[in-house]
């Protein structure tokens, strides 16, 4: 009985230590980034049916504002997001090379399905296809970092 208690305590301790939101190491980051780009994130060849225009960009910005801003900021570059340095894996700037190297089809796939276990949720059904493709347009033409202010939810 005593042994069992010690064993359970030991396992729980290891488990809890493993749950800490420490930043991932370089090897983990490189491995996961490679796997996402080349294995897990599909839909590489699908083209965006919406062309870039001021209207589709504004549609994308509007759709992005519904809830994406809670983690990514209004500018898609985490401006004003208070937990951005305390979450693991870290929330990437959507202007970063790692994100911009995805094809339009892959970005749509991520928006549809999310990325497990990063915390990125899928939005299929919550936002329409039209809105999701307009977000892809917005992601390709993000405003300058900090130019859009802080999401309203973090201002009071």
């Amino acid at each position: 009985m005593r042994l069992l208690i010690v064993l359970v305590t030991a396992i729980a301790s290891v488990g809890l230590a493993g749950c800490k939101a420490d930043p991932p190491g370089k090897l983990e980051t490189k491995t996961v980034t490679f796997a996402k780009h080349h294995i897990f994130i599909r839909n590489k060849n699908q083209k965006n049916p919406l062309l870039y225009s001021s209207e589709t960009w504004a549609d994308g910005k509007q759709a992005f504002s519904h809830y994406c801003v809670a983690c990514h900021g209004i500018d898609g570059q985490n401006t004003g997001v208070p937990f951005v340095d305390h979450i693991s894996p870290p929330i990437p700037s959507l202007a970063s090379d790692d994100v911009q190297r995805y094809t339009d089809g892959q970005l749509k796939w991520i928006l549809d399905n999310g990325i497990r276990p990063s915390g990125m949720p899928g939005s299929k059904g919550t936002l329409s296809d039209d809105e999701l493709w307009s977000i892809v347009v917005f992601l390709r033409h993000l405003p300058p970092a900090g130019s859009q202010g802080v999401p309203e939810i973090y201002t009071h």
Binding site: H66, K124, G125, T126, L127, S128, D129, E131
Partner: protein, 121 residues
């Protein structure tokens, strides 16, 4: 006499033309009204069939929160305030199936809230 006759004929012609043109305008100005209810997360009815060239008025009523209806391909977009009714008049000018979406974010099922418009010849 000849001049008077010609003036009379002209007057009768203009009067006839104006009467007929008024009737044509009146006929075109009587659009088909279709009532549609918008409620989280569906339009009721969810499908509508109309004729190309036939004027239509969609009478859109929200029974809960604010909604919207947008057909990007038809360049139609209207907002429906919470609990309110708005009218969307239009005349479809091309045949096909067009899917309109709720254009005001209304919650978790917002993306699946659609209205399909079948436009027939």
């Amino acid at each position: 006499m000849k001049t008077k006759f010609m003036l009379l004929a002209l007057f009768v012609g203009i009067a006839t033309a104006s009467v007929f043109s008024t009737r044509v305008v009146q006929a075109q100005a009587a659009p088909r009204r279709i009532e549609v209810t918008a409620k989280r997360f569906a339009f009721e009815p969810g499908e509508i069939t109309v004729k190309k060239g036939q004027p239509v008025v969609l009478v859109l009523k929200s029974t809960d929160v604010a909604h919207g209806l947008r057909f990007r391909e038809l360049n139609l977009d209207v907002k429906i305030p919470k609990g309110d009714t708005v009218e969307l008049p239009f005349t479809p000018d091309k045949t096909g199936d067009f899917v309109g979406h709720c254009s005001v974010f209304c919650g978790s099922g917002h993306g699946a809230m659609t209205l399909t418009l079948h436009v027939m010849d």
